[in-house]
């Protein structure tokens, strides 16, 4: 069984936000109303986060990073879910069963990365959004928590395709949308259990770090520091 993980190279990242858009469109994430967005209810599974500012002006650089779900190996969200709506799959993906979620938001309160988003209400979506929904992904109703699933629908598609072709899933068959669209290939995705995969190699780099690793959540989305 593979263990999917992701390495984001901040040295390559240009903060173009293509991953943010791709994630939003691929997963049919709701566009909330103006009021809701301004009240902090905008829904982004992938978001640019400015962690800190390195250096003194003018030799200052923001440490900006694309932040999706860290897909922790020891996720604190699944521990507290009272109904098993969020759970860890054998391949390491922390997924969310939307029809099972009761909307208690305990997982949101316990996520140290604040990555989960809640459907506070359901607004009528712009027509152009609805028409370009990804048909493989369900649209979540109001009152449930949702999160990045490493585009699990793509894994489903890829494994179905591989099954039809009587072969095993190969590296590169399945990548999340953010990985696919990244213009500078800053995001590497693959099997962390495979010692030869790109992502494993990248994770051994001296620049590798994980967000809030000290909490023991063992994030499977990690970063490569920018070279200065």
């Amino acid at each position: 069984m593979p263990k999917y993980g992701m390495m984001i190279d901040l040295n390559k990242c240009t903060s173009c936000q293509a991953c943010v858009t791709a994630c939003k469109l691929e997963n049919n994430v709701q566009i909330v109303s103006e009021d809701d967005a301004q009240n902090g209810r905008a829904m982004f599974w992938m978001k640019m986060l400015t962690l800190e500012f390195d250096g003194d002006y003018p030799n200052i650089r923001p440490k900006a990073l694309p932040r999706n779900c860290m897909q922790c190996d020891e996720p604190s969200c699944i521990k507290v879910c009272p109904v098993r709506a969020t759970y860890k799959r054998p391949d390491g993906i922390v997924a969310q069963i939307y029809p099972q979620c009761i909307g208690c938001r305990y997982c949101m309160a316990n996520c140290p990365y604040t990555v989960k988003v809640f459907n506070w209400d359901r607004q009528a979506q712009p027509v152009q959004m609805e028409k370009t929904y990804d048909p493989d992904v369900s649209v979540r109703p109001k009152g449930v928590v949702e999160k990045c699933t490493f585009c699990i629908q793509r894994l489903q598609k890829a494994s179905e395709k591989a099954a039809v072709e009587h072969r095993k899933l190969e590296p590169g068959d399945y990548v999340p949308a953010c990985v696919e669209v990244c213009p500078v290939d800053a995001i590497t995705f693959g099997d962390l259990d495979d010692p030869k995969s790109e992502v494993t190699k990248a994770s051994r780099d001296y620049r590798a770090f994980g967000l809030l690793e000290e909490l023991g959540t063992v994030p499977k989305v990690r970063y490569l520091n920018a070279i200065e």
Binding site: T14, C16, T21, I31, A42, N59, P126, Q128, T132
Partner: protein
């Protein structure tokens, strides 16, 4: 290929169960509207089609995911040499414009101030009659055409109308102007295979440039090869993140900085003596002028840029093997824009333009011609003001009312023109003023082609309709060509419509047989040597097959072009450089105490046209956590002085008015600047989000190109 049909049955089951359980009047799982009819009728066949993005000058290859012949998603084409599978937010959401409810569904005519639907024949009749009556200087054409073929057609069209009043806004076109007037040639690309240093004057390489996606990769490659980038810009944009160092300076001082750098190099004597002797006319007087007036200390006094930075950067520039001092259109966004460009040209000349490359042979017909023609044209939209002769104004996709600080005057000028025809597929600020709209197809419904040399290789990308036009829209190219036929404007028209026109223009590419279609990765090894021996990389028996293959694969490119060093002949006079005698020569000096409004652009919006898009509008301020509203960025130290708290509402006062925005502390902002993003404040959305900062900017333009200055407005914060 059947895809996830099972998922759909599951989805349907889930939604039925949802209705049964009754989730408070809402299904547990809601099936997308677009999917429901297809779910019942369609076989759910997934196909992919290749096309090209025309949202910005980048021309990225696109892969469109079609479900039952309806496009639903867009991704990058991995075989395109420009984007190699990557795609930017604008490209990703471009498909939303296809389904946008605000799209114009038929030609419109303004009657008593209100638009009414008319038939194409009626609209065409009005236009053709008006042009018959008002040929020559009574007709003007304003276009924003990222397709150079379209640009060229428009140019041909106005030429045959005998009108000089044409402004074709392509990203490169304005940049060509300084080259045209100071040199005899224009570089095709930065030669990243050799270049090891880029001194970047204000260009947002990875965001808004000739090809943001290509530059993103190229910049990373350059850095991984230990090359470096020095950026002079008024804001630490994501492009400037990659540079070391970033030197904050306002665009109006680029000129002084560039000449200051030149001064150091001249002093050190480290310039390319052979080149300047041969190709730099009147180098002696140039040298004298620079050495006298632009010593680093003088420049520091004037611009606030530390002289040690100037000296260090200049020495780096002098010692690099193939340095490039790069500028693009953004350098012109200043009252002395063209002079900035001249200064950078002069700086480049000192190192013999050694980082720039030039294609030896050009098989692409459109590209060069448009650039040169645009260069010779001196007409720009500001000339609309006070032009009483004008009887017909044609507007193709340009939203210059939104982009110009003098929009009020332009509005007045346009209201005096009897017939204003817009070809925009949407109502926007400019189209609102038109009397007649003949909407163009959406990008996913039409044929077009673009050529580009930014990658160092000639690339022709083809845009093809992935879906039949939804509405009664017409390709503007077809309109222009049939006008030319009907008005007997051009004697010899070998083409009946725009597709014929494209085919005719692509014949040379077919004929010379070099290069390859975007059907495979860049060949290496045996294929490369075979190609060099004269083998064709992609086989096609006749032109029709070539054309079909072009449409299928999305374009053609030459992976092994013949490239030469760019070496133009320069003739820069002292007055060109210093602007003596011109109105803007009375230069301000850098003043650290006054605040300047610096309008910056983001890669989510190109020329203020993309924020019709719901997803992009929401995402516009996401990294600052501001939604649907304009914000200003302010240095925390400045904010402390003005006692402006983080994320508090402030009133920003300029000479032209004031607006309220959320102030956000950002330590990367230049202490004397107030940064405000450009793109919001459209009136065409249902609700107006934020403000258009350019409405508050002073009327300051670069004289030669008519580019508005975006950072010379003094501002007060309350």
């Amino acid at each position: 290929m059947h895809i996830s049909r099972r998922n759909f049955v599951k989805l349907l089951g889930g939604s039925l169960a949802g209705f049964a359980v009754g989730g408070l009047g809402e299904a547990l799982i809601k099936i997308p509207n677009a999917v429901v009819p297809i779910l019942y009728k369609g076989p759910r066949i997934e196909t992919w089609k290749i096309t090209t993005c025309a949202k910005c000058p980048g021309h990225c290859g696109l892969r469109v995911r079609m479900i039952d012949d309806l496009p639903v998603q867009v991704f990058g084409n991995p075989l395109s040499p420009i984007n190699a599978g990557g795609i930017c937010p604008m490209g990703l959401t471009s498909i939303q414009n296809l389904y946008h409810p605000d799209r114009l569904t038929s030609p419109m005519r303004k009657v008593n101030g209100k638009f009414q639907k008319v038939s194409y024949h009626e609209a065409y009749g009005i236009l053709s009659k008006a042009l018959q009556d008002n040929s020559g200087e009574k007709t003007a054409f304003v276009a924003q055409a990222e397709s150079d073929f379209m640009g060229r057609l428009i140019h041909d069209f106005t030429q045959s109308l005998k009108s000089e009043k044409v402004a074709i806004d392509r990203f490169g076109s304005k940049t060509v102007l300084p080259y045209r007037s100071a040199a005899d040639d224009y570089p095709d690309f930065i030669d990243f295979s050799r270049c090891d240093l880029i001194i970047n004057f204000g260009s947002q390489l990875t965001e808004i440039s000739e090809s943001p996606l290509f530059f993103s990769r190229a910049v990373n490659d350059l850095r991984s090869k230990r090359g470096s980038i020095v950026t002079f810009s008024p804001k630490l944009t994501p492009s400037a993140f990659k540079s070391k160092p970033w030197i904050p300076v306002l665009p109006e001082f680029y000129e002084d900085v560039a000449l200051g750098l030149a001064c150091v190099i001249l002093n050190d004597g480290t310039y390319d003596k052979g080149f300047v002797q041969k190709n730099f006319n009147d180098f002696g007087s140039f040298r004298q002028l620079i050495l006298e007036d632009y010593s680093p200390a003088d420049v520091e006094k004037k611009t606030g840029v530390p002289s040690k930075d100037i000296i260090a950067t200049a020495r780096e520039f002098a010692s690099a093997t193939s340095p490039v001092a790069y500028f693009d259109e953004s350098i012109l966004q200043s009252s002395n824009g063209t002079r900035n460009a001249y200064a950078v040209l002069a700086l480049n000349a000192l190192r013999g333009f050694s980082g720039y490359g030039k294609l030896q042979t050009r098989e692409i017909p459109g590209d060069d011609k448009t650039k040169s023609d645009a260069a010779s044209a001196s007409w720009n939209t500001s000339r609309l003001i006070g032009d009483a002769d004008l009887k017909v104004l044609l507007i193709y996709r340009s939203n210059f009312i939104f982009n110009s600080p003098n929009s009020e005057d332009l509005r007045k000028a346009i209201s005096n023109i009897p017939l204003v025809v817009s070809f925009s597929p949407f109502i926007d600020e400019t189209t609102e003023l038109a009397n007649l709209i003949i909407p163009d197809h959406d990008d996913f419904e039409k044929f077009d082609a673009m050529s580009s040399t930014v990658t160092g290789a000639p690339v022709v990308s083809v845009q093809r309709p992935v879906v039949k036009p939804f509405y009664a829209t017409t390709h503007t190219g077809d309109v222009l060509i049939s006008l030319m036929h009907d008005l007997n404007l051009s004697k010899d028209l070998p083409y009946g419509n725009y597709v014929d026109y494209l085919r005719a223009n692509l014949k040379p590419v077919y004929k010379h047989g070099k290069g390859m279609l975007m059907a495979q990765k860049k060949p290496t090894g045996l294929e490369k040597s075979l190609h060099e021996a004269g083998w064709q990389l992609t086989s096609y028996s006749d032109f029709d097959e070539f054309w079909d293959q072009m449409l299928k694969y999305g374009g053609w490119w030459d992976p092994f072009p013949k490239v030469e060093q760019f070496s133009p002949t320069l003739s820069l006079s002292a007055s060109q450089l210093t602007g003596k005698g011109s109105a803007s020569s009375e230069k301000k000096t850098h003043d650290a105490d006054s605040l300047t409004l610096n309008i910056f652009s983001k890669n989510l919006d190109y020329k203020g046209n993309m924020l019709r898009n719901a997803a992009l509008t929401e995402q516009f301020g996401v990294e600052r956590d501001v939604y649907y509203d304009t914000w200003i960025e302010i240095n925390p130290n400045t904010a402390k002085k003005l006692s402006v708290g983080d994320r508090t509402k402030v009133r920003v006062q300029t000479r032209r008015g004031s607006f309220v925005a959320t102030a956000i502390h950002n330590p990367t902002v230049v202490p004397s600047n107030i940064d405000v993003p450009f793109g919001l404040g459209h009136k065409f959305t249902e609700k107006k989000y934020g403000i258009n900062p350019i409405d508050y900017a002073d009327y300051v333009f670069d004289e030669a190109t008519g580019t508005p200055s975006l950072s010379e407005t003094s501002v007060k914060i309350e």
